[in-house]
Amino acid sequence: MVNVAHLIPLFPFLAFLINIAFGGKLKNACGPVSVAASAISFVLALFVYQGFRSGGGSYSLGTWLSLGDTPLNFGVMVDGLSIMMLLVVTFIGTLIQIYSIGYMQGDPRFSRYFAYISLFMASMLGLVIADNFVMLYIFWEGVGLCSYLLISFWFEKPAAARAGLKAFVTTRIGDTGLFLGILLLFFTTKTLSFHDLQQISEGHGTVLAIVAVLVFIGAAGKSAQFPLHVWLPDAMEGPTPVSALIHAATMVAAGVYLVARTYPLFLVDPFALQTVAVIGGISALLAASIATVNNDIKRVLAYSTVSQLGLMMLGLGVGGYAAGTFHLMTHAFFKALLFLCAGSVIHAVHTQDIWKMGGLFSKMRVTATTFLIGTLAIAGVPPLAGFWSKDEILSAAYQNGHTVLFGVAVLTSFLTAFYMSRLIFVVLFGKPRSNLHPHESPATMTVPLMILAVFAALVGFVGSPLAHHAFQGFVGGGESSAASQANGGMMILSTVISLAGIGLAYLIYILNVNVLPAGMLSRLNGLHQLLLNKYYIDEIYDAFLVQPFLGLCRISYKIDLGVVDDLVNGVARFVAALSEFLRPMQTGLVQNYLLVQIVGLIILILTLGKLCFRY
């Protein structure tokens, strides 16, 4: 039953075609069409899982294009990693689409929304099953396109339009790295298939490390890693379910998936892994610190996503292949849950400013409860999902001797617990801070929340020592066996960190205790400003990259007009000037012409006459 894997992306694609073509007629039926398509995909993914367990594997559908002698196949990759992704994407995707039916109800472009979402599902699933770099790149750009379309879905808002552009261009910078990596890989090894990676990783030396770094640039763009992370917070201009699906659970995780998929390349040279880990660490800490002060409910979650993705990269980078992918999976569940909860809240109160919310717990019990579960999961409170996967990453960092990165991971975990607790304390508890009339969302929204909450709570067990690390065994990566040993000390440490973060937030935001002395507080004001302005990274990019580049463009246009074109026109002008000089010869006076004629006659006689008359 493995051989149905290529049909998985096909159903959402059909849904896309149906919705784009007949959206006007289907009206509200568009949502169910998309949901049904991804539900079918989910079922197919289950079949593929079943088939894989009973010994199925990758297969090919034929040649798409041949590069010289190397054929590029429509190949389908079926292994633990891709099946894990297939299951996660189809499952979460289905739930989020059900949720969207409620969330997007009444939007004038309801059908368009579901068409885009289906297209996204198709591309994302295609990306997962691609068995070579070119196929992956094609779908990679496809999900980028859907991300662009959905971020600027409410295009009437200039901010949304700008955010879409920013997202596309920023990720394209990363994609260019990936593209270059593909070219380099092809001409070094003459293959682009993922199946050959293990084999070619021997014998090509450091070139492959460069390939790995280039591939990682692509991954960093997609997964919003520093320094290409700037697009993700802005992407929150899109509808919230989109943020949940694309910008939290699936697409942004594609970068992590790509690194995991091409892991053999990274193993060639420690330098490549180091790069991944360091970038991941920087992103994790940077984003987490920004999240602690941000006041927009979605942006806090967006920075949290960047931070968590950084943590995954860190996990992969320190050698914890299984740890990174495990966290990828658990994160997909609880971050999707968190975004959907946030969406539910926004749906109810029509604002995103957390300081205008408050005391929502009693008004929206389902949403609030699931929100709480999600928060505890991401904070890493045992025995929820985040605890197990985060613990794995910490163990991997510690056991592979990356002390600094371990410290970064610990600090990030602490900050995560802190800002997430801050978020729910401010939003759900306390007194209402403004005149809002919150109400619980419809069942199409709350049911997915509840299902996701259950998973967010329990999905971690598949990779826990209690289940004998079944997940790690499934996705493969034997090198994680060291990390997979139960590490009691690490578990206690990670629990303590989480509780400390939550406790600190409780002190500040519920009990309103001034934790720090007043003098210190004012000194921290600068830091607060720095964080509030996201380290001024956007401004720095704008001032040092974007504006100079646009200026350069304008200058080159000036050069084009003033120099290149002017040279051409200069030639014309030279000829014209020459004619201006010669033109007065044509006086228009017949007598002048005649005189010239006579002069000519004289010259003729002088020259020819010499020949004829020999004088």
């Binding site: 007598q591 005189l595 004289i602 006689i605 020999r614 004088y615």
Partner: protein, 161 residues
């Protein structure tokens, strides 16, 4: 004696011709032109072509000069002496013409030599016969041309207002 006649005629032609092109008054010019053409007619007589001489007097002096005088009178007040009759390239043109003349003379010196056979002059009868026999076609064409010129002149000259 015959040479003397020639030199007198030649001197008259040269003298009047120069006056034609240098005279300030266009009306005077026309008079000098008439004198020149008469002198040329004289030359024709001298060269034993009396018919041609007569025609010259009749057509030119009788016809064309009259036309010129009419034209001058029709385009009135341009004979005014205050208006410069020559253009700015006069000196250079004069120089060129002198050089040209010198060159022509030079060529003449190097080419027209030798004794010429002394033949009988063409009689009027011969002339008339060849006009209507050998040269009848050009003759007819010339008459056609004259007709065309006449029609054309009327067409152009008619005041369309």
């Amino acid at each position: 004696m015959a040479e003397l006649v020639f030199f007198v005629i030649a001197a008259a032609i040269c003298f009047f011709a120069v006056l034609v092109v240098t005279s300030h008054d266009i009306f005077h010019s026309s008079v000098w032109l008439a004198m020149t053409l008469l002198s040329v007619a004289g030359l024709y007589f001298y060269l034993d072509a009396p018919f041609l001489g007569v025609i010259q007097v009749l057509v030119y002096v009788g016809g064309i000069i009259t036309l010129f005088v009419f034209a001058i009178k029709l385009t009135a007040h341009i004979g005014d002496k205050s208006i410069v009759q020559t253009n700015r390239q006069t000196i250079f043109a004069g120089l060129c013409c002198l050089i040209l003349f010198a060159l022509l003379m030079n060529m003449l010196q190097h080419s027209c030599h030798g004794p010429f056979p002394h033949s009988e002059p063409i009689s009027l009868k011969q002339l008339g016969q060849s006009l209507v026999s050998v040269y009848v076609l050009p003759f007819e064409f010339i008459s056609l041309l004259l007709l065309a010129a006449m029609v054309g002149a009327i067409a152009i000259g008619r005041d369309k207002k």
